[in-house]
């Protein structure tokens, strides 16, 4: 099909208008214009006829044997299935990563605890004699003293006293306010003279060797 140069623009316009005129969507003016153009243009008449055939062919009902009712039944069954199990399905789907993550964390922890246990056993150290100061059965070091400071004694004075006599607190205070003091590591046991000086120190109400201590 060829178009003469002087009508080429009109043919382009006609070409574009054809689908909408065929569908009945074109304006009356557009419809009238196309009819006028077709009356004088054999090429566009031929094209328009072909467009009509195309539209007619495309408007034929589907030639596929697809049963709407059967398809609808399957769709409803699909919806039923999804609604019957949705919370479970969705929860499973959404929580699956969480569950997997928690399981992985538990496994990592278990492995870590196992490794730690093996390591601790391998070190073969004697168990530390860990105890609290309030334990009744706490062992008393050799040369320990029971000392009861006055309630008004300042902490600074108490510390100065411990420093002066090379003592450290190993227990107490008990129910009557008595502390157990022991010589610092490497220091000689407290002598009777030292004990006398301690008793004479202001703020000390009571100072006696622990019974049974050497």
């Amino acid at each position: 099909m060829t178009f003469q140069k002087d009508v080429g623009r009109d043919c382009t316009r006609a070409w574009e208008a054809m689908p909408w005129v065929l569908r009945g969507d074109a304006s009356v003016a557009q419809d009238d214009w196309l009819k006028m153009h077709l009356a004088g243009c054999a090429a566009c008449r031929e094209e328009f006829a072909q467009q009509e055939r195309l539209r007619e062919a495309l408007a034929l009902p589907p030639d596929l044997d697809v049963d709407a009712e059967a398809g609808l039944a399957r769709l409803l069954a699909r919806i039923d299935a999804s609604e019957a199990a949705p919370p479970v399905t969705r929860r499973r789907a959404s929580s699956s990563w969480l569950v997997r993550g928690l399981m992985a964390a538990v496994i990592v922890q278990a492995v870590g605890i196992g490794v730690l246990g093996v390591k601790l056993r391998g070190e073969a150290q004697p168990p530390a004699a860990y105890r609290t100061l309030s334990q009744d059965a706490a062992p008393v070091a050799a040369g320990s003293l029971r000392v009861v400071p006055q309630a008004t004694m300042k902490v600074a004075d108490w510390n100065a006293l411990l420093h002066t006599f090379h003592l450290r607190v190993t227990g107490g205070p008990n129910d009557v306010g008595a502390y157990t003091l022991a010589p610092l590591d490497g220091q000689a046991p407290v002598t009777a003279q030292t004990l006398q000086r301690l008793r004479a120190t202001p703020g000390i109400r009571f100072a006696e060797p622990v019974s049974g201590a050497p």
Partner: protein, 194 residues
Amino acid sequence: MSNADNEADATDRQLLRRMAEGDRAALSVMYRAYHGRLCRFLARLTRRADVVEEAINDCFWIAWQKASTFQGDSRVSTWIMGIAYRCGLKALRQHGSEPVDEDTLPEDRTPSHDPDDDRIMRDWLGKGLERLSADQRVVVELVYGIGHTLEDVATIMQCPVGTVKARLFHARVKLRNVLPGLAGEHSIRRENAP
């Protein structure tokens, strides 16, 4: 948009609202109303009879789930055809695009006043459509078969109107050059459209 189109869209919107509330009766009405055009549209797009129902049901499965999200920016039919288009493309990706074997279709599938006339017309059309790309077939079907505007087609295919125009133009040029007239014309015309 004609008055009939407006009325149809108003009905569709009402059905869609009911679907959003879980009304299966509304879904059934909508399904039956759209089944024919979706069947034809998806057959044109995929050219596979065996995936058409699957694509239709995927389309309505999505429409059922997304009914409450319909914004009303387009006609409901445009919205549904857009979903169907994407379902059809998905089916094409999954199953390929083997042509429908017309010979395997039973004769009673053609509800026509004159089956011979329809057969000739279908054969004629089939010869033309098989030369088009999937997107060109879709544009031709949406414009000539279903009657959507270029703007509707652009919405359905999620592309600019200019792209739709170009696809329609090239589809028409191809059809004009490969399709003989029904009156026995077999000449192949040159590709020099306006």
